[in-house]
């Protein structure tokens, strides 16, 4: 495609098998995907289809048993632990279903975390973290600890933390799994906004209405890509019913 944005992720025959002793479990059996910059992808599939394994591989938390994974033009499938840690730090922003914030640290400190490992100095760190929190609408909650925040606010802190190092990819694993539908919609509109701002987002979900916010849905079945198609509608809000549950 001419004039299309550069490719961020390319995988060829990406496979992962787990030796469980008695049997070998094939979690991924040759996944080929391409993701361009500024795409908003939803990865779907039934449980056991390999969604989580794929996320772990893309997030450089794990390495494949076979196949290639090229991130921003360089192969990463054979890297050592410390190099993977560096890539996680610079290229990937994680958002988890359970938020995974440090419980005794303030929102600001939580957001600073990736910057600590990036070697950013304390003053610059605070400033960047404050900007990131402002971006997700939590400028007035910086000194709050997670237990003083609502679920939606916690997930926003997590998103700010994921974005603070300006990663190539925002990798979200069931980001709305622990949230009610109204808050889910809030978080999704934040994702859409970030996407409009140029952020590449890959999101694992099993909820169709959440996946509807993405541009493209990749469906995995039995460790293989079953389908990959762009969503038909282009304006997510227009097509989505208000998520408030009526009586």
């Amino acid at each position: 495609m001419e004039g299309s944005p550069p490719t961020v992720i390319v995988t060829h025959g990406l496979s992962k098998e787990y030796d469980m002793g008695a049997e070998i479990v094939y979690a991924l059996r040759g996944v080929d995907i391409q993701i361009r910059r500024n795409e908003f992808i939803a990865v779907m599939g039934p449980s056991g289809s390999g969604k989580s394994t794929l996320m772990n591989l893309i997030g450089c938390l794990d390495t494949p048993t076979a196949g290639e994974y090229i991130l921003n033009g360089s192969p990463v499938q054979d890297l050592e632990d410390d190099e993977l840690a560096r890539i996680r730090n610079r290229e990937i922003g994680f958002v988890f279903q359970t938020f995974n914030l440090l419980p005794r640290a303030t929102a600001l400190h939580n957001v600073e975390l990736p910057l600590i490992y990036a070697g950013v100095k304390a003053a610059a760190r605070r400033e960047k973290a404050a900007v990131a929190l402002d971006r997700v609408g939590l400028a007035d909650r910086m000194e709050h600890q997670p237990n003083e925040l609502s679920g939606g606010q916690r997930q926003r802190v997590a998103i700010a933390r994921a974005l603070v190092n300006e990663p190539s990819i925002l990798l979200a694993d069931e980001p709305t799994g622990n949230l009610d539908s109204a808050t889910s919609a809030d978080i999704m509109s934040l994702f859409v906004e970030l996407h409009r701002g140029g952020q590449t987002i890959i999101m694992v979900t099993h909820e169709h209405d959440i996946a509807e916010f993405a541009e493209r849905i990749i469906t995995l079945v039995d460790g293989m890509v079953a389908s990959s198609h762009a969503r038909l509608t282009t304006a997510p809000f227009a097509s989505t019913a208000p998520p408030v549950i009526s009586e």
């Binding site: 938390l61 560096r86 996680r88 994680f94 988890f96 995974n100 005794r104 990736p114």
Partner: protein, 414 residues
């Protein structure tokens, strides 16, 4: 991540779990307290012996001749002790020989002494005292000071007058109104006029002198002496250290002649010097210090194990946090540093507390005894060094475990 950053994270963590941190450093506190307290006391005794005790018994450039060493170190063999016990006491003949051998001595003095059951004044008495017959110069060579009245004079000595200077404890007991000078005291059947009272010496071993009666040697020799002309100790003070060595050589020769020792026969007398006394003390001192490392290392090993255990529990409890940190880009080294910093700080805090408590104990000993509290810098440095070593070595295993956690498993850990 820098070491500084690791320390910051560790401090935050320690502060967040104050009680747990406090418990984990108890073992180290005990070990270091013990180390510092023992070294403080031993060093205090050291200083006391060197500055007060030895100095008061023997000034510089002073040596004395006795029958055998007054302070046994327990290092002599049985045969040696038997041989020393056969040595005759010095007597006035020996004194005369020494006087001839060291004519230019600054001081030459001798004394005999005995313990006595009681001293009387009227119906008052003081039990368990020491009576000393000292020659001229004796009170000077001992550095005894007079509180009231006067000391013994050459005239007292020459005429063997029945006069005495008494220690403060006797004066208090016999003359509670403080009017000792000019009164009579009675020892057995003899009466002596009190001419002066000594200043209190106090001190760990000085108490005995506070309950002493000093009289001219010749007076003692004629009245209370157990054996005529016997001398317990002949003391010689020379002007310089080099003169002292020459005087000792001359004295040795003179005594061998006067005692009729054949060549090759061993001396049947003993030289005592302040340096000799100090070396005896050093032997005791070394035994004390040799016991410290063993006891300290036991408590530090226990302290280290306590820290390691608590750190291991902490690693398990914080598995998820470790997973998050790894997902955010922490390397194995970063996690390792964080936990090592934590165990080191805990252990160093323990060492710091231990130093404070140990010094406190030392101060307490100083208050309750005449020993000065003295802590050498090397002991503080050792305490801090040990704290660091315990912290690092007890943290290394938990830190390795934390750093090697698989991030996926760690993130999923409930």
């Amino acid at each position: 991540m820098s070491v500084l950053e690791a320390l910051r994270i560790a401090l935050t963590q320690i502060w967040a779990h104050k009680l747990k941190s406090l418990f984990s450093l108890i073992g180290v506190v005990i070990g270091i307290t013990f180390l510092i307290a023992v070294i403080t006391v031993v060093e205090g005794m050291n200083r006391y012996v060197q500055e007060d005790f030895a100095g008061s018994l023997f000034g510089v450039n002073t040596f004395s001749v006795t029958r055998r060493p007054t302070i046994g170190t327990g290092t002599q063999s049985a045969e040696e002790r038997i041989r020393l016990a056969r040595n005759p006491y010095p007597d006035l003949e020996d004194v005369a020989a020494v006087r001839r051998a060291v004519p230019d001595a600054r001081y030459l003095s001798w004394r005999d002494a005995r313990r006595m059951r009681e001293v009387w004044h009227g119906q008052r008495r003081r039990r368990n005292i020491r009576v000393i017959g000292g020659s001229e110069d004796y009170q000077d060579i001992q550095g005894w000071k007079i509180e009231t009245g006067r000391g013994l004079t050459p005239l007292d000595q020459q005429r063997a007058l029945k006069v005495a200077v008494i220690g403060p404890e006797i004066a208090e007991k016999l003359f509670p109104d403080g009017s000792a000078v000019g009164k009579l005291i009675r020892l057995q059947a003899y009466r002596y006029e009190v001419v002066g009272v000594f200043e209190r010496k106090g001190g760990l071993l000085g108490n005995a002198w506070d309950a002493a009666v000093l009289m001219p040697y010749e007076t003692y020799n004629q009245t209370l002496s157990r054996k005529r002309n016997r001398v317990l100790e002949i003391s010689v003070k020379t002007n310089t250290e080099s003169e002292m060595q020459a005087a000792m050589d001359g004295t040795e020769e003179a005594l061998r002649i006067v005692r009729g020792l054949r060549p090759g026969e061993e001396n049947n007398f003993h030289f005592q010097t302040s340096s000799g006394l100090l070396s005896a003390w050093e032997t005791i001192n070394n035994i004390l210090l040799a016991a410290v490392p063993g006891l300290v290392s036991i408590s530090l090993v226990v302290g280290g194990i306590v820290i390691m255990n608590i750190m291991l529990v902490s690693v398990t409890q914080r598995t998820r946090e470790i997973g998050v940190r790894k997902a955010m880009g922490a390397t194995q080294r970063d996690i390792m540093l964080q936990f090592l910093a934590e165990s080191s700080i805990v252990s160093l805090l323990g060492a710091g507390l231990g130093i404070a408590l140990g010094l406190g104990l030392g101060k307490l000993v100083e208050r309750l005894s005449p020993l000065p509290a003295s802590i050498p810098t090397w002991a503080l440095a050792t305490a801090i060094g040990l704290g660091l070593v315990v912290g690092l070595s007890s943290g290394i295993y938990p830190a390795r475990r934390a750093s090697r956690l698989d991030p996926i498993d760690a993130l999923r850990y409930e």
